[in-house]
């Protein structure tokens, strides 16, 4: 698979504040990449630099397939966070105009425009002025105008964050189709959207990459066995549980009379409501130990679940470190 874009040492500072502090990443052709991070992490700044709207303070962006000194904008389609159009134009007029600015002939732009409006579900509204479009319609029009010149890279800034659940589902459905045809990069602060669509994720936090790679790799590499334990809320059981967590955190649980059991666990925390989350190192031994101890102490266990840490845990950990 060939590389479409390589970014090295990308920095942007506003006044004395560095919003983006040296990003290095590459995007491969045909992948769908999510730029994930909390609000204010530098996602929009990064995207605006890639599209050429904002000049980087330092760093290099190389778009493969664009000759040196050429215009990267010719291979990019861009959908801003809250797209604004020329409200006095009709939907079709705007897409045709966008196409002609990208160098399509007027006939080709018109054909392509109608085809795309059909695809995004705006065919019925193509003759209406954009002034009267709803938020979801504008988002879909934004997609159509971004795709009109068949860009190699589609860049979107928070494409679904501002939409209601229905509009969100529609746009996500469209994106699922689109990612088969072109390389997609989009930013989001919603992990779920990234998980649903993407091959690769880049998690950024305060202007730096906290973690990046293929979603599956990350999931496999970072997943850990988790034991979720809930007891009934009688005094004896609760006391046992809180001692367990305190002891594990301190590294010396001896409720079972076995010193050194803490070596089986990595982390323990109370989850509230008489429940605890334990991250185990050796899940089988840990489970056995817990069951043994509970039986001995006559603890009223309500639930014992063994699973794996989710991407959400990983995301929270990456952005809050």
């Amino acid at each position: 698979m060939s590389e479409l874009l390589r970014v090295q040492g990308l920095v942007k500072s506003f006044g004395g504040v560095q919003a983006v502090k040296g990003l290095d990443f590459a995007i491969e052709e045909g992948r769908c990449v999510a730029l994930l991070g909390p609000n204010g992490a530098g996602k929009t700044t990064t995207i605006r630099m890639l599209t050429g709207l904002l000049k980087p303070t330092a760093g290099e962006m190389r778009f493969h397939g664009v000759p040196k000194g050429g215009d990267q904008r010719s291979i990019i389609g861009y959908l801003p966070q809250t797209p604004a159009f020329l409200p006095w134009m009709t939907g079709l007029e705007f897409v045709v105009y966008a196409g002609r600015l990208c160098g399509l002939s007027s006939g080709e732009a018109k054909r392509r425009g109608q085809e795309l409006l059909q695809k995004v579900g705006l065919a019925g509204a193509e003759k209406r002025r954009i002034r009267g479009y709803s938020g979801g319609m504008k988002q879909r029009l934004g997609l159509a105008q971004a795709l009109v010149h068949r860009p190699k890279l589609l860049i979107m800034d928070e494409p679904v964050s501002a939409l209601d659940p229905l509009g969100r589902r529609e746009v996500l459905g469209l994106l699922r189709e689109l990612k088969r045809e072109t390389t997609v990069l989009f930013s989001t602060h919603v992990l779920h959207d990234a998980e649903e669509l993407c091959d690769d994720v880049m998690i950024i936090r305060s202007g730096q990459i906290a973690m990046q790679g293929a979603l599956n790799d990350i999931r496999v590499r970072h997943r850990k066995p988790v034991i979720e334990l809930r007891v009934e809320r009688d005094e004896r059981s609760e006391k046992w549980l809180s001692e367990l967590v305190r002891g594990l955190s301190a590294g010396s649980w001896d409720a079972a009379g076995r010193h050194g059991a803490a070596g089986l666990f990595e982390e323990a925390e109370m989850a509230g409501g008489g429940a605890a989350r334990l991250i185990a190192k050796d899940v089988d031994a840990a489970r056995e130990l817990l069951l043994e101890s509970m039986a001995k102490e006559q603890i009223k266990v309500a639930q014992l679940a063994v699973g794996y840490s989710s991407l959400e845990d990983l995301f929270m950990k990456a952005v809050s470190e």
């Binding site: 506003f14 605006r48 599209t51 050429g52 709207l53 904002l54 000049k55 215009d71 904008r73 010719s74 990019i76 861009y78 801003p80 809250t82 797209p83 604004a84 159009f85 020329l86 006095w88 134009m89 105009y97 966008a98 002609r100 600015l101 990208c102 160098g103 934004g142 105008q145």
Partner: protein, 265 residues
């Protein structure tokens, strides 16, 4: 500009013209110019009657106002355009660049592979078309009514003064697009452009010897052109040259401003 740039420029100019049509500017701006142009000869002609009917003068007052010459009426028309016409044109275009940047439309348009110079150039072309067209329509109407009511003014001095005045409007439009790029506020751009025009005219009027070469002297030369002869031919030449130069610089200047501004949109 290469062929591709030229094509993008003409597409964008087409869009600007369509915007003028959809916002009705292409209709009401020429209408106002025509109205102003017709009013001048009509009021000059009927002034004695107007004064008599509405002047609240005591009975028996005899009013003797010599009818102004036709060329004088045309010069007065131009000076009307210098105030009202200029105001309307500047107000119509004060947000021509800043409006698209503030609304966010620029962030969609500016990621298309277009050159910023042709973006600015297309806007300037539309501005010139409206300014020159409105001036021609209004000034022709004035000429025609002057002919009907007062006397016929030769076509050559009429056209000559039109061309000189067009140049002045071209300068004002260049200033407007420059300030609209520089300032995010449309009102600020209008204020700055009108202020600059007033300042230059004042300087040229008060100290013609030192400032007769600046664009602000052009309206004065246009009055002279229609009423008689341009007296200071060399200063006039300088003034034309300086105006052309400034207007020509303002476009790449605006493009440069836009390119080096912290964010294009």
């Amino acid at each position: 500009m290469n062929g591709k740039g030229m094509a993008a420029w003409s597409v964008m100019t087409g869009k600007e013209l369509l915007e003028l049509v959809r916002s009705f500017k292409l209709i009401w701006v020429p209408l106002v110019f025509i109205l102003l142009g017709v009013m001048q000869p009509v009021t000059s002609y009927y002034m004695p009657i107007l004064l008599e009917k509405a002047g609240n003068l005591p009975d028996g007052t005899v009013i003797e106002i010599p009818l102004p010459s036709g060329s004088q009426v045309l010069a007065d028309t131009l000076s009307q355009y210098g105030v009202m016409g200029m105001l309307i044109l500047v107000l119509a275009f004060m947000g021509i660049v800043s409006g698209e940047r503030n609304s966010g439309a620029a962030s969609i348009l500016m990621v298309k592979p277009i050159s910023i110079l042709s973006y600015i150039g297309s806007k300037y072309a539309a501005m010139l078309l409206l300014a020159w067209g409105s001036l021609l329509a209004g000034y022709l109407a004035s000429w025609y009514y002057t002919w009907l009511l007062i006397e016929r003014v030769d076509f050559a001095p009429f056209m000559y003064s039109y061309l000189i005045y067009s140049l002045w409007l071209a300068f004002a439009m260049a200033a407007t697009i420059w300030f609209s790029t520089l300032l995010r506020s449309a009102a600020g751009a209008a204020f700055a452009s009108l202020g600059l025009a007033v300042l230059l005219s004042l300087l040229a009027g008060l100290m013609p010897k030192y400032f007769g070469w600046n664009p602000g002297a052009l309206p004065g030369y246009a009055y002279q052109a229609v009423t008689g002869e341009i007296s200071q031919a060399s200063r006039f030449g300088w003034s034309v040259g300086v105006t052309l130069l400034l207007a020509a610089i303002s476009l790449p200047g605006s493009a440069w401003l836009l390119r080096r501004s912290p964010s294009i949109d």
